[in-house]
Symmetry: C2
Subunit: 457 residues, 2 copies
């Protein structure tokens, strides 16, 4: 059993503050668990006998069975007492979502919580956080309404966020785009479990293929560096550092009270540690999606397939700007593709299948580029505005991508019809971009990571 | 009457190649006109007596009334003859969407077209293009199915594209996001009307507030420079240059046959001309939206309002990275806001209205920042994941933005619930970003343009 495992895969959970009132945090959290969690659920609230069809207990000590995890969602002043009950009950893992501690100057209350935790050997995530979401176990303490905050599908990205707002917006944003997650943790005031602990957990977690972090500051710089240095050799870690400018650093100190530290020191530390630095949340996900769902490339030679010449030009520019190379297609590749496409198609790299291309032409070109040893990475541009491209193209690209022979990355841009197809592709594990600059940036990072772990030169 | 005006605001139009068959280009175009165009529409096709409920003419010369504009959508080999008919009928403006000319080596056929045009004094857009879309007059020759290619609302952006695929994807993409357009032109082989003519037209066009261009090459570098130099003083022109790297340049020569020219020469030319260079299509629209719909700022001091501290930090970093300054709020501003928000709100810059903020808090903060002379630009971050932010916030921000006192730019990030609100904001003319890096980049460009035209220091 991994340390912290019970935060993510408990067999039984107590919701302290479970409520009948739909606008209460404890109601939303209970509802989340009922909806997806397969283990035992114990609502705890002294004023209810029953909540959402479940028997409700006055205190956790009244619960008959063993409890792996407690979630506390009650006003701050009642938290130490509830935590003591958890200790008496033998609960070793507690998520405190309640705010009202050190972040508003009540360090006394937070110290009391720490004292209780220490006495009973309890590990705590929080307080003042939105807690944990696990796409596999459906542990879900996110107390924002589901109609406002969508939950993502299962996948390989885990995201650790110091900021609850950043975390929840991102999760929602990523879910709507079809990105797959393993775990999400917002750790708030980090009175116990912090970014280093969580990072070390994600290192061992099998369903986590890529780790993303939003971090404003740390109390354990040396340990953070050591963990990153070790973990990045096994799994990519992508970090957004909040407070890297003087303006941002000032804002961070008002926000989490974090000493954001010198931008230069952070930058040097992160680079030396092998972490991938992202300037922006979208870029973090761009890198994560590629690294989580595609095989690492053996080199930096890209083959482009397109049904619009102009986008082939823009892609070529963007790739070269990011230090990548347009692959020199083999003669066999060109003659093979030419056999199956009309004469007016331009079979070079980019392979321009032209405006009336159908899924079959894409299949021929994909197969040829997968076979060509001069091609390390395939970038497929698909414009859905023309009538020739039918939905079956999703299946074709997915089936090639599933073989994991070479990274396949897709690009498309358009309105609702296009978006539906982009989401379909994303759902079957093919990363799709609507910006060729961003696609090229992400391919560059994937290539550099491949070099870092000795998979490419 | 402006030159080229009849391409965009004809009183009557003939569709040569109008067809009963839904998958034919001439059918889609006729249908587009019937759907939105208010002038007279004459289908022309020797094999039909009637199409889509309209009387169909065998040749344009059979049409009883005057015709301002003809659209030709028939196989290339029949085009010269049809064009001669247009000449005889006195039609002076013709859009040829048909392909099969110089782009596949048939320069002979294109020369024939040019000869006829010269003889009769006809101006031509095309051939091998998707032609014109005008959001006001509903001239619409885009022959992609409407379910695949959405049309944008009316607005101030006009876009000139050398590539049809780039143009159509972009229009579709922009439409779905609620961006407002004036005109769109894909000019294809440019056998007559080219990018310089179109640029000069947009200069005079009243509903065009900002001009965007996608260009791979030009035959009139000097004139292009002169036009840009003159026009950028009056209206921002944002240019994406395709083929700016050696890989892109090679791809461009296969695509439009354009001599993409030296990247350095283009870069220098564009910079000297006062054009705003965009690396990416999305960035082009980012710049366009701000410049088309918001007043120019008097300086570079930004006030931030947020309901999530972490995003305040990221925004501060992003703004400073782009050379902007966090405004030093006046004491009166701070005390005014403090009167109306709870104690735990952090009233500095960023103004953090915290997680339970409602629309009223936003209104108070917006009013105070609009009044504060130390603030030139307002960046409003709204996270819709929390239950406090109701839809009325759209009205509040829109009503402040409508006064056009200072540029107001919004940021949000999330899933479907958020997206609906982002589109609403965009529809009422408030640019919304889902990336703070991109928002800051666009604000920087807006500020630099304001300096360029002498509106800011």
């Amino acid at each position: 059993m991994l340390m912290l495992e019970k935060f993510f895969r408990p067999k039984s959970v107590a919701i302290i503050g479970a409520s009948k009132h739909p606008n209460k945090v404890g109601h939303v959290i209970l509802w989340n668990f009922i909806r997806g969690f397969k283990g035992k659920i114990y609502p705890v609230n002294p004023t209810h006998d029953e909540v959402l069809g479940l028997k409700c207990y006055k205190r956790v000590t009244d619960i008959p069975g063993h409890v792996d995890l407690a979630v506390i969602a009650i006003p701050a002043r009642f938290v130490p007492e509830a935590l003591k009950d958890c200790g008496k009950k033998g609960i070793k893992h507690v998520i405190i979502v309640s705010g009202g501690f050190s972040e508003i100057g009540r360090t006394d209350l937070e110290d009391e919580v720490k004292g209780v935790a220490k006495k009973y050997g309890i590990r705590i995530i929080g307080p003042n956080c939105i807690g944990v979401f696990d796409a596999y176990s459906q542990v879900d303490t996110l107390f924002m309404p589901r109609y406002r905050l969508e939950r993502p599908r299962k996948g390989g990205i885990s995201f650790i966020s110091q900021s609850g707002a950043v975390g929840s917006a991102i999760l929602d944003w990523a879910a709507a785009r079809g990105f797959g997650f393993s775990k999400f943790v917002s750790y708030g005031n980090a009175c116990d479990v912090d970014e280093v602990d969580l990072l070390n957990y994600m290192e061992k977690d099998r369903s986590t293929r890529v780790i993303g972090m939003y971090i404003e500051g740390t109390r354990r710089g040396r340990e953070l560096y050591n963990s990153l240095r070790r973990i990045t050799r096994k799994k990519p870690v992508i970090v957004i550092k909040g407070g890297k400018t003087s303006a941002g650093s000032k804002a961070a100190s008002s926000h989490t009270g974090a000493l954001a530290g010198s931008a230069r020191v952070w930058d040097a530390m992160l680079k030396q540690s092998g972490a991938i630095i992202a300037d922006d949340i979208r870029r973090m996900f761009n890198y994560s999606r590629l690294l989580a769902e595609q095989p690492l490339p053996k080199g930096k030679r890209v083959g482009i397939i397109t049904n619009g010449g102009g986008f082939g030009v823009i892609a070529s520019d963007a790739l070269e700007s990011h230090g990548l190379i347009l692959a020199d297609l083999k003669k066999e590749t060109i003659s093979e593709i030419k056999k199956h496409v009309p004469e007016y198609a331009v079979v070079k790299n980019p392979v321009d299948l032209v405006g009336d291309a159908d899924a079959h032409r894409y299949e021929v070109a994909l197969d040829a580029l997968l076979k060509d040893e001069n091609v390390d990475i395939i970038l497929v541009l698909i414009l859905f505005q023309t009538a020739g491209v039918q939905s079956e193209i999703i299946d074709i690209i997915a089936s090639k991508s599933d073989k994991k022979e070479k990274p396949i990355i897709a690009f498309s841009a358009g309105g609702d019809f296009t978006s539906v197809h982009m989401r379909m592709l994303e759902k079957v594990g093919v990363p799709v971009f609507d910006s060729l600059e961003e696609a090229s940036d992400a391919i560059e990072k994937m290539y550099l990571y491949s070099v870092y772990v000795g998979n490419a030169e």
